[in-house]
Assembly symmetry: C2
Homo-oligomer: 144 residues x 2
Amino acid sequence: MVSKEADIRNAIWQLAFQFKVSSKKAIRQYGLPLNGMHVRILHMIGATPACTANRIVLASGRDKAQITRLLKELESMLLIQRTPNPDDKRSQIVSLSEKGEALMARAREAEQDVVTRLLKGMKKDEIDRFVGLAGRMLDNLREE
Amino acid sequence: MVSKEADIRNAIWQLAFQFKVSSKKAIRQYGLPLNGMHVRILHMIGATPACTANRIVLASGRDKAQITRLLKELESMLLIQRTPNPDDKRSQIVSLSEKGEALMARAREAEQDVVTRLLKGMKKDEIDRFVGLAGRMLDNLREE
DNA sequence: GCTATTTGGTGGACAATATCAACCATATTC
DNA sequence: GAATATGGTTGATATTGTCCACCAAATAGC
């Protein structure tokens, strides 16, 4: 017999792990030369106007050294480009290159497949509720 | 403006990541010489009667090579012990040593703190619903 | 203005986690 | 008894995460 705490712990671990595995597989099947973090960061860059490295750090919660390296990789793959940030000479604005946009269009398809499968048989309000609860839990962990 | 798919994706990634970070920190603060996977596996071993390596592989979804190595580490730390499996000479039954039990008692406390924080302000039925939805999503991803 | 501190970013070094394939010994199937 | 499947191990390598020192520009305090 397992406790409720174990349930929630397990639910989070397992769901995240399986989701990662499925996403990775989908990306592979589409023949895209990207791994998980690449895709996540490209998403953020695509969705964030005037995106700087620091914004990605804050939004992702990852270490800034990690972000620096990932951006360097993405740049060497010609998927993103950097332009000077007029507001702060220390930083640069990163944006998707054409090649990056094209790749992400396909990545979105691949990920869409996974999300569709994930949400199969779920009602709209169930999904909303789930996302809402997850958000509250996240806030709980973050504050303090 | 972000799509619903991005919401659910983000919710899962972020919650899992923050949960991992918080758990790791809690374990550290308790001064326990364990990392995330160690704790997860020790949990399973403690909760599974006649636990074999293969059971951990199946329950965790991780690669069996990874499990082998983690078990080897845990054994060298004297947290677990292996005894021959009477039903199959290829495998062994792993179980917590006294030292392992003691450590896990403290790890449970540390993790309990995190779960308590995670669930702050959540109603029982909200938690149940969340775990239930997570389970369904997990099934969706796993089947096929 | 001019230090002192903070902030955005980079690099080194390394730890933790994950993946893939080859392989051995036993178990199972036929 | 041969062929195949299964539990487990090892090697090699990729990915992800962490910590620390550091530089240059920005900001705060005076």
